[in-house]
Amino acid sequence: MTTELLNVEQLRTHFFTEKGTVTAVDDVSFTIHEGEIVGLVGESGCGKSVTSQSIMRLYDEYMVEYEGKIEFNGDNLLNYPIKKMQKIRGDAISMIFQDPLSSLNPVFTIGKQIAEPLMLHHKKSKKEAYERAVELLALTGIPSPEKRVHEYPHQLSGGMRQRAMIAVTLACEPRLLIADEPTTALDVTIQAQILNLMRDLNNKLQMGIIFITHDLGVVAELCDRVMVMYLGQIVEEADVKTLFEKPLHPYTRGLIKSIPQMTGERKSELSVIKGNVPSLTNKPKGCRFSTRCEFADEKCLEEMPPLKTHSDTKKVRCWHYEEIIAREEGGHVHASST
């Protein structure tokens, strides 16, 4: 848990659009260590997928501009020429996507798709690559892998496809795995299988995993550390236990409170975060959450709070979090601007 794998510093991703430049990721910094699973949580449009795709530099370069640093193995990926970047993709850094059907190519067998990167990146012979493919399929828990190697994606069920997809991404033994909502399209019983598998693989292979999801339940089950994103920024970062026990940011608090619970008393009404996520072209001036925060005052509307270090493991981007928590815990007093 000590070796630093990926270090992202003040990453900004700008897109050029007809309406001008849109900054989808704005000042995001974090570190991933070897062997840890870090959750990246947020609602749609919060920039969690853009962050991960920026690490892989998957966007067309003429439409996008990156700022900041993405250090992997001590090198800044943003300075790499495209050719070198392509060598990293699928080799040292790998990615799993949400939809297993559209991320596997329907015209090639599973085996070929696993063998392909091995032959490409590691110059293995066809035979070796296929042998490795069978091993990997077995590793991901697919029954009778020596048969499945020769099957096409449409012959597998949803859960099997996602396992095969994971096998493809593991082919080159990546040091960093980016999983972009890998279980969102799956049923809960299958999701449970896949989460188990990912935990096992993480233990066995000791790679770093960035797990992107909107589901706080999945985060609580799987991740070691969590970063919560809102409108292109990280608003809170903490290890998973403290995040759920003692969330600091009003957004995180609201989010956790708004999920229907599986245990305990059934509430007659869910607590809500009012309003909608503003669009990226129409961001609030000060704190990004100020338009929906019930505690926002003038300072929040005017000035963007920095990502403050609260303790060793916790960071939060809010001006008033300490007062808010104190106030909420000392009985429900309504926000009056100070």
Binding site: F15, F16, T17, E18, K19, V22, A24, S44, G45, S49, V50, Y59, D60, M63, V64, Q98, D99, E181, T184, A185, H214
Partner: protein, 311 residues
């Protein structure tokens, strides 16, 4: 709820939506160029007649095949008729034929396509007829029809409409087939809406945009086909001028009187290019997916897909 405030809101919103549309129109270079060219061609056809000193039928035999001059701007033809006035009136006929064909095929094709998309048996019958019509090369088929119907301008329109209707019907049908599967159509069925109501009130509006695009292409196509028919002597009957039969007259004297082929030729090219630009431009404007020029759109698309799949 006061109705006045509501109608105010309506006005404002319409204005806002219109200005947004106008902005998109201005930023679409293809559409803009096409529109300017078409404005010019249509202008020639409509405003041209006010500047004419001759009728297109007035023959001055001693002035046969005189080159462009101040008297005859584009020269005269082999009967001594003023070429400028023939090209102007030819524009009216050629564009008129094109427009009529585009409108007729749109209406008929829309109805056929929509019905075919909704009723399976009808689909088989109608689409096999369309297949049959499309299997014969358009121009040959049009010539055959003209031979049967007799050389008259309205017969040209009828023949071309028959040739081009299947194209529209196909486009409408394929779009309608995908719209049919949308949830909002299912929602209307759950309301108990009748099939015809669903087809014409809910599916039809969504097929209009590809239909309009296709119709502009058919407009252009039928101008060319009409010209070809007239050139072959099976189109607009002489002495009525159309760009096609001016070319026909001109081909006999092409080495003595270049102006007789060049000017109507230029008009045909302008009209066809203009219409094709408009069609392509409209397609880009309506359907941004074919040409993802901005990242934002793609990011939106991505977000939309991920929300969809979350179900």
């Amino acid at each position: 709820m006061s109705t006045t405030s509501l109608s105010n809101i309506r006005k404002e919103l319409k204005k806002e939506q219109r200005s947004l549309l106008f902005k998109r129109f201005l930023s679409n270079k293809l559409l803009l160029t096409g529109s300017f060219i078409m404005l010019f061609v249509v202008g020639v056809a409509l405003i041209g007649p006010f500047f004419l000193n001759y009728t297109p039928y007035q023959m001055v035999v001693e002035n046969r095949l005189s080159p462009p001059s101040a008297e005859h701007l584009l020269g005269t033809d082999n009967f001594g008729r003023d070429l400028f006035s023939r090209v102007v009136y030819g524009a009216q006929i050629s564009l008129g034929v094109g427009l009529a064909v585009a409108v007729i095929t749109s209406v008929v094709g829309l109805v056929i396509g929509l019905l075919a998309s909704y009723y399976k048996t009808l689909d088989h019958i109608l689409m096999r007829i369309c297949d049959g019509l499309m299997a014969i090369p358009g121009i040959l088929f049009a010539i055959a029809l003209m031979a049967a119907l007799g050389p008259q301008t309205q017969n040209v329109i009828i023949a071309l409409s028959i040739v081009f209707t299947p194209h529209i019907a196909r486009v409408v049908r394929s779009k309608a087939l995908s719209i049919r599967e949308e949830t909002y159509v299912e929602a209307m069925r759950a309301q108990g809406a009748s099939p015809l109501r669903i087809i014409f009130l809910h599916i039809a509006p969504n097929t209009i945009s590809p239909l309009v695009v296709q119709a502009t292409f058919i407009f252009a196509d039928s101008i060319i086909t009409e010209a070809a028919l007239s050139f072959l002597g099976a189109g607009v009957p002489t002495p009525d001028p159309s760009w096609g039969n001016i070319l026909y007259d001109g081909k006999l004297v092409i080495f003595n009187a270049w102006w007789m082929t060049v000017f109507p030729g230029i008009m045909i090219i302008l009209a066809v290019i203009g219409l094709n630009f408009v069609g392509d431009g409209l397609r880009d404007m309506i359907d941004p997916h074919t040409k993802p020029r901005s990242k934002k759109k793609r990011v939106n698309l991505f977000r939309f897909n991920s929300q969809k799949a979350r179900g």
